[in-house]
Symmetry: C2
Subunit: 223 residues, 2 copies
DNA sequence: CAAAATAGATAGTATTACTATTATATTTGT
DNA sequence: ACAAATATAATAGTAATACTATCTATTTTG
C-alpha cells in the first residue's frame, strides 16, 4: 500500500554526527524531539529532557547531534526536503505554467493538517515546529559558516524551483526569488499570527485565507 | 537645533522593572546592549558580558530587566514606537492616499543607514538587531501571556495604521493586515538574506531593490 | 566467533540565568 | 545641612544548561 516506503529524504551529512535514520535510537531521537519541541518550544527543549522522554541518556544523544541547534537544523532541512518532494509530486505531468505556479504556491503556503504516512515522522507537528522555529536556524551569527557547509541548499532549491516557473510565465519580472522567499516566510508568519496575534492578519474564520491571499499576491505581481 | 529633544518613545511598563531612561546606568544598559547584541548576536549575549562591557554588575542590570528576553523586547518595542513616530512625520500634511501609502511602505522597508540624532540610541545598530532578532520576541511559547500584557500593541498599531490607508484606497480589499505584516516581516528577511543568503533574493547590487519590490507589490495587490 | 560498532551509566566542567545579602554612595525632602 | 530614602556595587550562591570524557555492557557484522 505504501508505495513511498522505498525512498527517503536525504539531509546534509554535515548536520549530524551519525545518521539518525541508521538506528532505532536515532529514530527515537527524531520522533521524541518532534514531540518535545512541539510541546515545550525550542528554548525550553533540552537534550536531558529528550533523553528522559525516550528512556535514553544525554550522552547517547550527543553521539548523533553535536548540539540542539544541529538537531533543529536537521528537522527543518528534512522538512524542506519533504516539501520539495511534495512539490515535484504535485507538479508532475502538469504542463500549463499558470496551473503549475498555483499548485506550487499552494504547496508552500498550506498548513499541514494530515500525516502523510510517508515516514515515521509526524508532519503535522513538524509543520508547527517549522512555523515557529525554522527561522531561528539562520537568524544567528553562525549563518555564514553554516551556509558554506551547504545547510541552506534545500531552501535555495525550493526557491529556485518556483522562481523558474515565474520566469517562464513572465521573463521580464525582476524579483522572482524575493517574491518566492517572501511567500514562504510570509505564510509561516501568517499561520503563527492567525493562532497567536490575529490582529496582524485577516483570517477571522477560514484558514484557507492565507493560501488564497498568497495565490492572489503572486498572480497579481507577475502580470 | 535638536527640536525632538523634548519627546521620548514610551515603552510598555510591564517590560521593565525600572525605567532605563530614568538613570545613567539605565542608559548605559540600553546603549551597551545595542552594541553587544549587534556584535555577538542575541544567543551569545549575556548580562554578565554586558555588565563587564559597561563596568557594572550583573545584579545591577537585573534591577532594570528581569531577563535578557525582556531587554530584547524593550529594544524592539522602542524601535516599533520610533517607526510609528517616523511614519507620522513622513505622512504629515500629505493628503493623497496613494502618496501616503508609498511613503508608509518606504518607512517600513527601508534599511536605516543614518543615525537620526533623535536620542542617544544608535538606530543603525538597532535596525540590524531588529532585522535578525525581532521575530524571536514572539516566536516562542510566552507569546500568549505577553500578548495579554500588551507587548505587541505597538506592532499592531503600526499594522493598523497602514492597513487603514489601504482600506481608504480600496475598501473592497480583503487582506490589508496580512499584506502589511507580510511587508514588514518580508522586508526584514530580505535585508537579512541580501547580506547572508543572496540566492534567496534578487538584489545583486542595489539595496533599494527591496523597497522597490514591496512598493510595487502593495500597489499591484490592492488595485 | 572475534572484532567492531552501539548504547548505557556515571561523572565532571564551564557557563548561564538567575536570587539574595550587605555595604557604600548619591539624591532628595525638610 | 542632615536624615532618610534610593541607587549602585560587591560578593556569594544556586539550579540548570550545554556540553565532554570514560568505562562497561550489549548488539551487530564480517
Amino acid at each position: 500500500m505504501n508505495f513511498q516506503s522505498n525512498i527517503s529524504i536525504l539531509v546534509n551529512e554535515q548536520v549530524y554526527l551519525k545518521s539518525p535514520e541508521s538506528s532505532k535510537l536515532g529514530q527515537k531521537i527524531i520522533r521524541g524531539s518532534i514531540d518535545l519541541i512541539d510541546e515545550l518550544g525550542f528554548e525550553d527543549f533540552t537534550f536531558k529532557k529528550l533523553a528522559s522522554s525516550i528512556q535514553s541518556t544525554e550522552a547517547s544523544i550527543y553521539r548523533y547531534f553535536e548540539s540542539k541547534h544541529h538537531l533543529l537544523v536537521y528537522l527543518v532541512l528534512w522538512y524542506w526536503g519533504w516539501l520539495e518532494y511534495r512539490m515535484h509530486l504535485r507538479l508532475a505531468n502538469i504542463e500549463n505554467p499558470k496551473e503549475r505556479l498555483k499548485r506550487a504556491v499552494s504547496v508552500l503556503t498550506e498548513k499541514i493538517t494530515e500525516d502523510s504516512n510517508f515516514s515515521q515522522i509526524n508532519e503535522v507537528k513538524l509543520n508547527r515546529i517549522v512555523i515557529s522555529e525554522a527561522s531561528k536556524i539562520y537568524l544567528n551569527k553562525k549563518v555564514d559558516s553554516e551556509n558554506e557547509l551547504g545547510f541552506f541548499l534545500p531552501y535555495k532549491r525550493l526557491v529556485a524551483l518556483v522562481s523558474d516557473i515565474i520566469t517562464e510565465i513572465n521573463p521580464d519580472f525582476k524579483y522572482p526569488h524575493m517574491l518566492v522567499s517572501t511567500v514562504i516566510e510570509g505564510a509561516n508568519h501568517q499561520h503563527f499570527f492567525a493562532e497567536h496575534l490575529p490582529r496582524l492578519t485577516d483570517c477571522c474564520d477560514d484558514e484557507d485565507a492565507i493560501s488564497h491571499f498568497y495565490q492572489e499576491l503572486v498572480l497579481n505581481e507577475i502580470k
